[in-house]
Point group: C2
Chain length 583, copies 2
């Protein structure tokens, strides 16, 4: 307002007083800051509209906590006022809202947080530059498990292909790295080390800023704000823990991630993906040796070399989790994922493990699959090569003995068999594991299965005869129920959202009508056979508030999500519990 | 028996007489030729065991018909005595059981019949040699739609990869060509035009014999016996048609296959796969032009060139089927299946359609999918590119008008939308088709959907609001329910059968516990919304007797199978009807 216009207080003192009182009344009534529209016509005040005022996550947080402490609202009400997803803003760096920016392109908001770095197209190079003290952003068409070290080294990841649950997205969320996936306008030319978006060219070494919470990619560096975890944050989390009944676990396997998860309040590990452990260079060689072995003896020899490393993997997790339950999923991905793909890599790897390139190529071709998602993976590997699962079970049991010896605490292992579609598969593999457990007198373990195929859900009553727990693998269950590959869906899901066919990406928010129906069927059938069966979910949906509410209402025991999502899940679980009591 | 041993009649006349009477009594009692074990101890006759005698399909057939005609058994009983699958022996050439043979290897019995020919590794070459009057056997790692002409030209097909419902297997059964699929010991070296099995080398031009009913491959030529369709065959079929309530349709699209299906007694087309029509060279170019078009206008121009050809495709089918129902499935496979894959082919094709190889390569790469089975296909194409489905619907309607003008008979078109997972998809596409139908005043059609995804089965009540019929696509429904790719399962299903986890290949015999449960759910839900909804199945299971029995018991309206399986299905449907009445 300019100086020449008198203030309302001066020009209309009576109306101003009335307005002030109305403000106070409305804010007391709604117990929230109000955004009020009014007009004054011929000296008469008209209130046109009132609604709770918009604010930043930080402000909302502060207001809710302050009002609860002042006794204006209950702690339950304070919890209901905070959007769980807004916690991302409190946990990650964000772009300064006032900063100048030059938008280059957009992709999916695959993992929140903002980051600045120079463009690099190769994971090895990312690692080297990181060692040299540089901040880099890894840009790839897609990532694969062979890029893990590059993703660790990078500040953020951009992919031109893949959805919200593509490899890049899932791994980045787990690591807490910002990520923009499926930025389809980007055309990468690895050879000339550049990418093109429309008519703009970005070269290796150029600086970019990304905002993983919005999926935006900017040219140059944009000013950022660092997160501060306030005391208020701890208060909200404590209130949430009192209110919720659902347990919150985390999906994690590296000691770093497991530690992060525990610090964020995870009450257990809901999904430890053992295959991630095989991608480190030292053991990858042994694992490849196992894949290339021509008989069981050869496989066993190679597995014997992996056993001590795998045992130490589990011991490290057990030490950190101090007796909390740890669900360890036995090997899941198809074996060809562990073999090199390009001709160049094949030659290199063949040399390093002492076979000819032709042999390696033949085996890789033999293992190649048309639809790997529906292929020779999960417990199907355990049926074909029981020695793999036996080695993993042995590593778990021996790690338990070691850690119990060190600490006196009994590590709590839940051994999980993936991709079961028939009760018989589970029966056979349970026998393999139990026979071994009896031999080495292991006791503190249970065996359960993922329910991630429609057939497993439909036959859950029979499967529960052999399973002490079910963990719903909602990523794969969504893929098979919809017949929709999460790696490929990015190309046409936008058409579906535009046409109003799909409201929300079913890989982000659980599809209650379809996938939820199967979870419901499986829960009832499972409980019918075994009324104390433990039920949880471990897909990406474990960190999505609306999916968490669904799980609470179904009476599941826990949800498991990425470490950085644990606070979100704790709050969302509290909200679900509060709301269900109020109905 | 030598001359020096007296016959039983001579040495033990009383016992012989008793035995003869017992034989007669047993055969009258069981109304079947008996295979009897007996012993004579100290002059006393002991009958140890009796059972119906084993016989060839032909003999069993003859005995059953003769006994029914003689009034010894009813026609229903005659029908129950014939194994439907044994009809394959009557419909296809078989190996002479006494012929010498040199077994090379085994694969899956993918399509019955025996054949002799010389080895060829390329479909174009197969066609040329056929034109030159040679008989060839096409040997490929896998086949793809681009091999159709080669499969037509070949006497038989062998693949080293793929299961009972791989492309090769399905297409071969449809054509009535013998096929051995997934012969995993065969290592093909296309470059040097040979393949190796263990230590044996087979070169291009070498003669092989295959038995598609057993999956055996022999070196050289083995003597064969030709089938004769007897009068008895017609009698059995006539009795079967009286007994059964299930309708039998065929999966067919070429005029040749449609004619064969009708001759074998198909009462309609249950699945006309329109994409097969696009693989002929003349139209493939237009279709590729459509795929490469950068906008809707470009796609519409290319589709306009395909319209007249597609219209004539449908007209030909309508003429043959003379008013019988024809279920026409709109485009189903992902677009990348229509693009060339090898660098060599890309260069060739690019030249022929007037784009650069780089452009074509880029588009092919853009369209490539990690899991094509779960990708951008079926009605998802219709949502992204409604102009494709609109062109196909127009071709159907215009073909109806043409054929009605010629014959006065109204062709009965059932337009089927594939891969539906949400009611909204069907609603949108129905609107596209109905708007067009109203515009050109088409009336004699209905719109329905495949139920081939678990989500569609679970939401069948809502989907039935927009569907006048459901056709269960049991191939894909099995793939998604089990999370099992039929192209990849061949590698480990043998382990599963060995371990007793799976009794029968679920792609051959319907999995009643899992997939059957979904069919049951969908049927009930569908009927709840629309009590006269027409229900059928059109997967490969439509030709499998035990699956047919399941469909009969569920009260489905029809099953649809490969043309050569129609007689099997007619008999199996009759048996199911007879047995269900007797319970």
């Amino acid at each position: 307002m300019g100086d020449d216009i008198p203030s309302m207080e001066e020009s209309l003192p009576a109306v101003f007083l009335e307005l002030s009182k109305t403000f106070e009344r409305l804010e007391n009534h709604y117990k929230d800051m109000q955004d009020i529209e009014f007009t004054v016509e011929r000296g008469q005040l008209w209130i046109l509209q009132t609604r709770s005022g918009k604010r930043t996550a930080k402000a909302a947080f502060k207001i809710a906590v302050d009002m609860a402490i002042a006794g204006q609202i209950s702690s339950d009400d304070a919890l209901l006022r905070i959007d769980p997803l807004s916690l991302d803003q409190l946990l990650h760096p964000t772009l300064d809202p006032n900063a100048k920016r030059d938008l280059l392109t957009m992709g999916l908001p695959a993992s929140p947080g903002a980051a600045i770095g120079e463009v690099v197209f190769d994971s090895d190079e990312a690692e080297e530059l990181k060692k040299a003290g540089k901040k880099v952003i890894l840009v790839r068409t897609e990532t694969s498990p062979e890029d893990i070290h590059g993703m660790h080294a990078a500040e953020a990841i951009i992919t031109s292909r893949g959805g919200m649950t593509s490899h890049a997205a899932v791994v980045a969320r787990g690591m807490g790295r910002p990520c923009v996936s499926g930025a389809g306008d980007i055309r990468i030319d690895y050879e000339s080390q550049k990418f093109v978006v429309m008519n703009r060219v970005v070269k290796r070494g150029d600086t970019l800023t990304i905002d993983g919470a919005t999926g935006q990619v900017f040219v140059g560096s944009v000013d950022m704000m660092q997160p501060e975890l306030s005391e208020d944050f701890s208060k909200i989390m404590a209130w949430a823990d009192t209110a919720r009944t659902l347990q919150i676990r985390a999906n994690a396997e590296t000691p770093l991630d497991v530690k992060t998860a525990k610090e964020f309040g995870a009450e257990g590990i809901g999904l430890c993906r053992t295959e991630h452990m095989f991608f480190e260079e030292s053991r990858l060689a042994h694992f490849r040796e196992m894949i290339l072995a021509s008989d069981k003896k050869g496989r066993e020899d190679a597995l014997a070399k992996i056993l001590p490393v795998q045992r130490e993997d589990f011991a490290a997790i057990f030490r950190i989790m101090e007796g909390r339950p740890c669900t360890i999923r036995l090997l899941d991905p198809p074996l060809h994922e562990f073999l090199p793909h390009t001709e160049e890599d094949i030659v290199l790897v063949a040399k390093s493990i002492g076979v000819t390139a032709k042999e390696l190529m033949l085996r890789a071709r033999e293992l190649a699959e048309t639809n790997p998602m529906l292929g020779h993976r999960g417990c199907r590997l355990g049926i074909s090569y029981p020695e793999i699962y036996e080695m993993q079970a042995r590593a778990i049991f021996e790690a338990q003995i070691i850690v119990e010896g060190e600490t006196g605490q009994k590590p709590n292992a839940e051994i999980m068999i993936p991709l079961v579609s028939s009760p018989e598969e589970l029966e056979i593999l349970c026998k393999v594991i139990k026979t071994l457990a009896d031999k080495i007198d292991a006791k503190n373990y249970s065996i359960g299965t993922m329910i991630e195929l429609p057939r497993a859900a439909l036959l859950a009553d029979e499967i529960a005869n052999h399973a002490e727990f079910f963990s719903f693998g909602t990523n794969d269950l969504t893929q098979t129920t919809y017949g929709l590959s999460r790696d490929d869906a990015g190309k046409f899901l936008p058409d579906y959202v535009r046409e109003g066919i799909i409201e929300k990406d079913p890989f982000v928010t659980l599809d209650k009508a379809g996938v939820g129906q199967l979870i419901n069927i499986a829960s009832s059938k499972g409980r019918k056979t075994r009324n104390d069966i433990k039920l949880g979910i471990c897909g990406e949906h474990g960190g999505d508030p609306s999916s968490i509410e669904f799980c609470h209402n179904l009476g599941l025991d826990y949800v498991s999500c990425s470490p950085y999502r644990v606070p979100i899940a704790r709050l969302a679980a509290a909200q679900a519990a509060i709301l269900s009591k109020r109905v």
